[in-house]
Symmetry: C2
Subunit: 589 residues, 2 copies
């Protein structure tokens, strides 16, 4: 006996009752959000359902209000429909969030790994006994051609004007044209967002950019759940690899069609990403990143034909994956070090990339050490009762007054939830207004409600009601503690104090949305560093672009990978005590 | 308005009248023979058709008898059905002809390019700061891993016993097993037939073989029509490449399932083929082989990942394409030289591979020269009125008596047509019995009929009637003249005479079917060499197997490619006169 699901009034799937709605949707090829990977622990896979969706489970009740249930809201990973149903997925967050695509980059000389030169093709003669390849070598020097290059030779011998394209010293393509425009891609593969920039290899100019939410989110929001996915599902690795490759493919299509460029003229992509994303991108099983001793498969950079990753660009095009440092200091951070020239002696500088993982690098006059701290997804608006990502309708800033909250909403209009910066603002504000004690517990007072025996800060009464619960505050408190303690550990390991720091560089997608007031007010960055904070944007993308355009930057990246002293916080003797201390608030400053 | 075609009582295709039957069948993915590539010039794409197949064209009438037409036989490339029809393709020649898979090979030391060694995988420790690749290098030495190898690392670090597989000095795979059996393939890609042998890389033993008619025949029977196909059809090259790759894929499946071996344990294939087949196999456009100055794209051998050709074998598996000499002395002939050790000083030896092209190599005490002559398809049973390939039902030998013909039929049973050896036998017999004059014209006499004003030799009166027309004899005469003149030219170029020749080595699929009597009786090989003829089987496959199993053989092949002096017959001053002379028969010996 089969039943039918109608999706957003359009597509219809048939199913036999038994599996969860999420399983049915995925089986039918319908993309839907399930941040925790369908484990029933995040409560984010909400759908509106009409018809017989089966009994509402206790697990669902933990996430849904009675209004939700009355309105037919269900969690797709927990609900098992038994008859014909209609579901609406449009309640889920839209694509096309505002994603940071640019990062500042220092001045550097453009000297890409890809170069081109016009060559004149000889005319074979009868009885010369030479192959076309022999003739080509007579003008281009000895070659070790791969299949891709050999396939390009016959056409070249039919053309009058031919441009030879080299990757370093290797001939990789022959273009039957004079002086063609060549392009490269700088790619930033984040756990949450993917940014691709199309860059002219001649001028170094960024011609266009495109970005997307990383579609691997359907298999888990953070790197750990994606690693687990690879461990538990036979096709897990393949699914995650395919997801990121088809995402890159779409982004290349988009940026090319926006700019009227052919992907057949893109000869290299340089990629910065954390170690798990690097692994999934290469199609390499990430199990060793998910358990002690947390070894990455690769540290040094790697150049492979882009087709070996599954991305078709120009014939012979290469993909350069930047080097990383450790399992939790990936090539995105190495790219950041390149973009901020952290190996230069410019005093004491602290580089911090805030996200689900917080990565911190200390440059002590060019000597580098780094640590990584698990901040959790709270700062990205996840695992928070009214949380959402930074897209239209998200509250991005919060200012508390005596008895009400001023909310800044992305795109204006009605607020739909709170993104990470709002959560951090709230933490900053409740500390400023002494609405919490030293341990972070909310005190009774205006705007504070009791719900199910727990206190919550009410930011908006209704349509929709937006609250920050004590539990939410705990999440942010843990994130803050993790980052702050990493910060301090690095300084201690280098016998430095806060006062020694000349500059704090805030990098990354998330950092950009956080005001200095919010960063310091929440205690994520100590107040005394307030005047020394510099935002440096998407340094992963900027560093990848530099490695694309400059062989020196690429050499720097490779050297950096070995230069950085990685500090593993969990094995530091005093770390646990430090972390506990960092959880507390210095309410009175 | 659409109509329907029912094929062999099974598959149904819908079509709108307009295109030819061949076009409709191909569009619908139905494999069917069309040796001339659908140009309407070979008359071989016969089908039985019921229903409204449209008017029989004049071109068809040139190929079909009135009985044929009465019985509904049509040529699929010329017939344009207008209504519902049923066609029978089973009249076409079956697959699975008897194909020569083995060749003699000399003794040699087994030392393949692929080697394996057990390694012990280190155990990473926390804070060692090393990647899995770093650890691997600590036991395997510095590596330049490609994506395929990197993908194999995580699994290796979960295994206790790991075998490292090398191609020459490069690590290409890690097998989580102790002492696994590794295999290779020797591949002989002929214009007409494809043979794959599965070979143990440890023992050198041929474990199994499989063969198929080259499916590129659907696009043209000889190399020239396949080159033309690439020139005239936008997807020509792609179609021909796909055809041979999927053929190899099927043969690998077959030979593996026959032997219970996994293709994931096949680490290399060594391929011998003529220059056009090499080009199509690599996906390289063959235009330069089809017109003066007839340059091959490659001469030297080439090793590429087998996946770059589209053949998935073991992770990291390689494909080695043997070197060739010129556009018409391909790697199949180089393989033959390796298998017959033609570069050794063993007197004066003449190597001859008879087919649509006849390739002849002269070894003057190890000094090599070669020529190629366009024999045409007659010797393969093509372009002959009652011709067919050497498969079940083909007459393979003919002995003429006073008034009747003794016919030897492959598989016994009713004869269906004549294959190449029968045609050559007929030539030999009509010369022996002086049924032709010096110019090859049939004299009137028993078994000679007049048809449409032309004489024909009647081998069988009816069911079916089998004749050899004057035109057929002319075809064989031309083939004989081409080969004989090549033969003599090579000797003349080396100041040698027939008497100097110590040995004639007859290689290849076709040669094996020809008796010494037939070869010499027809004059293809001069009678005085009769006692010096040696058959050496499928030397292309044997040489490929040697190159698979022996690095020395591979080095020999590479050196051979440069050692052979290629004699281009068409530019020899006296060639035309010689060729005319070779067309004639010395009827009285």
């Amino acid at each position: 006996m089969t039943s039918r699901i109608t999706i957003d009034g359009g597509k219809v799937l048939e199913f036999s009752p038994g599996p969860t709605l999420l399983e049915i949707l995925r089986e039918g090829g319908v993309k839907t959000e399930a941040p925790c990977g369908g484990k029933g622990i995040c409560g984010k896979c909400r759908v509106s359902l009409k018809g017989d969706g089966g009994p509402v489970t206790d697990e669902e009740k933990a996430f849904l209000s009675s209004e939700d249930i009355a309105e037919g809201v269900r969690l797709s990973c927990l609900c098992r429909p038994v008859g014909d149903v209609a579901v609406s997925l449009s309640d889920q967050e839209e694509k096309g969030s505002a994603i940071l695509t640019d990062g500042n980059r220092p001045d550097f000389e453009i000297c890409p790994a890809i170069g081109s030169v016009p060559i004149s093709i000889p005319r074979p003669e009868i009885r010369d006994g030479m192959s076309l390849l022999d003739h080509l070598e007579s003008v281009a020097g000895p070659l070790k051609p791969d299949a891709s290059l050999v396939r390009r030779i016959p056409q070249a011998f039919r053309s009058k004007e031919v441009t030879a394209v080299f990757h370093k010293d290797s001939l990789i393509d022959l273009i039957p044209e004079r002086d063609p425009e060549l392009y490269g891609l700088a790619v930033d593969v984040g756990t949450t967002t993917v940014v691709v920039s199309l860059i002219s290899l001649k001028t170094g100019e960024t011609v266009g950019s495109a970005s997307e939410i990383n579609p691997q989110k359907d298999f888990g929001l953070d790197v750990i759940s994606r690693i687990e996915r690879c461990e538990t599902f036979p096709t897990g690795l393949e699914d995650l690899h395919d997801a990121i490759i088809s995402c890159l493919d779409r982004l290349v299509d988009k940026v090319c069609s926006d700019k009227g460029t052919s992907r057949k003229r893109i000869y290299e992509m340089a990629i910065g990403s954390n170690a798990t994303m690097t692994s999934l991108l290469l199609g390499v099983h990430p199990w060793s990143l998910g358990r002690a001793p947390f070894s990455p498969v690769l540290r040094r950079g790697m150049t492979v034909p882009s087709v070996d990753l599954g991305v078709e660009l120009a014939p012979g095009a290469r993909a350069y994956v930047l080097p990383g440092v450790s399992a939790y200091i990936g090539s995105d951070i190495v790219a950041g070090m390149v973009a901020t020239e952290l190996m230069e002696d410019r005093g004491i500088r602290l580089f911090i990339d805030i996200g689900t993982n917080g990565e911190i690098v200390l440059s002590d006059r060019g000597r580098l050490s780094a640590c990584s701290c698990a901040a959790g997804p709270a700062l990205e608006g996840m695992n928070i009762s009214c949380g959402m990502r930074a897209s239209d309708g998200a509250v991005e800033s919060v200012r508390l007054n005596e008895s009400f909250a001023e909310l800044g909403v992305i795109g204006g209009g009605t607020p739909r939830g709170l993104c990470g910066s709002a959560i951090l603002d709230v933490l900053s504000e409740v500390v400023r207004l002494e609405m919490v004690g030293k341990t972070g517990r909310l005190k009774p007072g205006p705007m504070i409600a009791e719900e199910n025996g727990k206190r919550a800060l009410v930011l908006r009464e209704r349509d929709p009601r937006l609250t920050v619960t004590q539990g939410d505050l705990r999440q942010v408190q843990l994130a803050r503690g993790a980052i702050l303690s990493g910060f301090i550990s690095l300084l201690e390991a280098n016998d430095l104090t806060m006062a020694d720091i000349d500059q704090v560089l805030v990098a990354g997608q998330f950092g950009r949305h956080l005001s200095v007031d919010s960063l310091t007010g929440s205690g994520l960055i100590p107040m005394e560093l307030k005047e020394r904070i510099t935002y440096c944007g998407n340094t992963s993308g900027a560093g990848a672009a530099m490695c694309l355009l400059s062989r020196k930057a690429r050499d720097d990246a490779e050297r950096l990978s070995d230069m950085v002293d990685y500090v593993e916080l969990s094995v530091l003797e005093s770390y646990d005590r430090l972390f506990s201390r960092c959880l507390q608030f210095e309410v009175s400053r």
